[in-house]
Symmetry: C2
Subunit: 264 residues, 2 copies
C-alpha cells in the first residue's frame, strides 16, 4: 500500500513537472537562444520588388563610408513606408485608426494561424481566399485562436527574387496575384477575434483590385496587415507565435517590420 | 511517518507546480497581451535628435497622400542607418564582422542587465562607466547573466525632446555625454559572456571621444550596440528580457531597431 501510494505520488509529481518543465523551458529558451525562431522578413536591398510604377524602384540604400572589403561602415536609405516586408497600420486605409507608432506589444505579439492555399493559387493566380477556406481550416485545426494573426500562404514568397514572376503582369500591366476575399475579411472581422492578418505577396487585396476593398474592411476595423511576409511555408498551421516589430515612425501609416515566429 | 512523508511529497509537488505554473503563464502571457512589456524605442520624426553636422537633420519623413484629417495614407522617409533608437551591427566598426541582416533571434533576444549610473552622470556629464561600476552591480545583483544585453542608464533619455541638452555641446562644439570606458568594455568582452550592450544617449563612446575606441572593442568582438535607447529607467536592474528587432537591410552596418522589454 505504501509502495503503491509512493509510486502514485511520484508519478503525479513527475508528470506535473515534465509538463510544466516544458512550459518553463519555453519562456527561458526564447531568451537563451535555444528556441526555434523563424524570421518571416525578407531582407531589403536595391533589387527588392516594388509596386510597379513609372518612377522605378523607390528603395535606395547607399553606402556612405566603407571598410577595405567594401562592407558598410555607414550607410543611409530611403524608402516608402509600404515597401518590402511591411505593416499597413490601421490608419493606412481608415482615417482615425491607429498609426504605426501607436500599436503596442499587446497588439503585436500573438498566435499565428497559417492558411495555406498555395495549391489553389498555383492554378489560379487571381484566387481569393474564401470564408469556406477558413471554415475548412477550422474543421482541421479548431477555431481560430483568440487574438490570432492570420497568415495566408499563396506561394508567392518563393518568387521574391524573380520580380517579373512576383508582380506577374499581363499585357495590360494588370498584376495577377492572390488575396483575401471581402467575404473572408468580413468573417474574420465580425465573427472571429483577430489581431491582424498577413500575406506572402504585395497586397492583401489581390493583384486585380482597383478599390482595395479588403484593406478598408480590415483597417476600418482597426486591424493591421503584414505584406510581403517571408518563410510562411516553414510554419505549422497552428502552434507558432509571432513577434511583430514595426519601425516606430511618429504618425506613420505603416513601415518596415521585422517578424519573428517562435515555433514548437 | 506516513503523514510526514505524505506532507513532504505534497509540498514538493506544490512548490514544483506553483513555480512552473508561473513560468507556464509567462510564455502564454507574452502572446496573449497580458505580459508587461515596455517599449525601449523613441519614435522617429523630423525633430528627432541627430549627430551634429553642417548638413542639418538627415532624417526626413514625408506624407505622400493624406486623409481629410491630415493623417498619412502613404508616406516615405529617408534616414541614416545610425539614427534614432538604432543598432550598430558588429560590422560598423570591425570589417569582417556580422552585418545587421546576419544577426539571428538567438543573438537578438536575451536577458537585460541595467546599470544605472545616472546619479554620477548628473554631476559629471563626461563620466565613463568603469569596471568597478560593473563589479559593484554584480555585488548587488549577482554575476551578469550569460548572454546578457547590458544597458547603461545615464539619464540622457529624459533629454530626448530637448536637442540642445541631449547633445550638450560646449563653446568648441564638443559634445558632453557619458559612455562606457575601454576598461569596462574589455571586462565585458573578455571576462563575461554578453550578447551586446546599449546606452540611452547618442553613443556608447562618450561625447568627447574622437577615436571611438569602445566601438572597436565591442564590435571587434562581434558584439552589437544599441544607441538612443528609451525608457531604460523603467526596467529593473535584473529580471527583464529584451526582444531586439532591427530593420533587415542587406549588408547594413546597423539600422533602426524596435526594442521591447518583457518585465516581471
Amino acid at each position: 500500500m505504501r509502495t503503491l501510494f509512493f509510486t502514485t505520488v511520484v508519478c503525479l509529481f513527475s508528470i506535473g513537472c515534465t509538463n510544466s518543465g516544458n512550459e518553463n523551458d519555453r519562456f527561458a529558451r526564447l531568451f537563451s537562444g535555444e528556441a526555434r525562431v523563424i524570421d518571416l522578413t525578407h531582407s531589403l536591398n536595391n533589387s527588392s520588388p516594388y509596386w510597379p510604377s513609372l518612377d522605378g524602384n523607390p528603395f535606395k540604400h547607399e553606402i556612405i563610408a566603407a571598410h577595405p572589403s567594401g562592407a558598410a561602415i555607414l550607410a543611409a536609405y530611403s524608402t516608402p513606408e509600404h515597401f518590402g516586408t511591411h505593416m499597413d497600420a490601421p490608419i493606412h486605409s481608415a482615417d482615425g485608426q491607429a498609426t504605426v507608432d501607436q500599436l503596442q506589444a499587446a497588439d503585436l505579439f500573438g498566435p499565428a494561424a497559417v492558411v495555406d492555399i498555395s495549391a489553389k493559387c498555383e492554378s489560379e493566380p487571381d484566387y481569393l481566399l474564401s470564408k469556406n477556406d477558413l471554415l475548412e481550416w477550422e474543421e482541421q485545426y479548431g477555431k481560430l485562436p483568440d487574438g490570432a494573426i492570420v497568415l495566408m500562404y499563396s506561394g508567392w514568397s518563393k518568387k521574391w527574387t524573380d520580380y517579373e514572376a512576383y508582380k506577374n503582369q499581363d499585357e495590360m500591366n494588370r498584376m495577377h496575384f492572390p488575396g483575401f476575399s471581402a467575404e473572408a475579411a468580413h468573417f474574420l472581422v465580425n465573427e472571429r477575434n483577430i489581431r491582424g492578418i498577413g500575406i506572402d505577396n504585395f497586397s492583401i487585396d489581390y493583384g486585380l483590385s482597383t478599390d482595395f476593398a479588403v484593406h478598408k474592411i480590415f483597417n476600418g476595423a482597426g486591424k493591421y496587415h503584414l505584406e510581403n511576409v517571408a518563410n510562411v511555408h516553414l510554419l505549422p498551421a497552428i502552434g507558432a507565435y509571432l513577434i511583430v516589430a514595426p519601425i516606430k515612425i511618429d504618425g506613420g501609416s505603416g513601415g518596415q517590420v521585422r517578424i519573428f515566429a517562435v515555433v514548437p
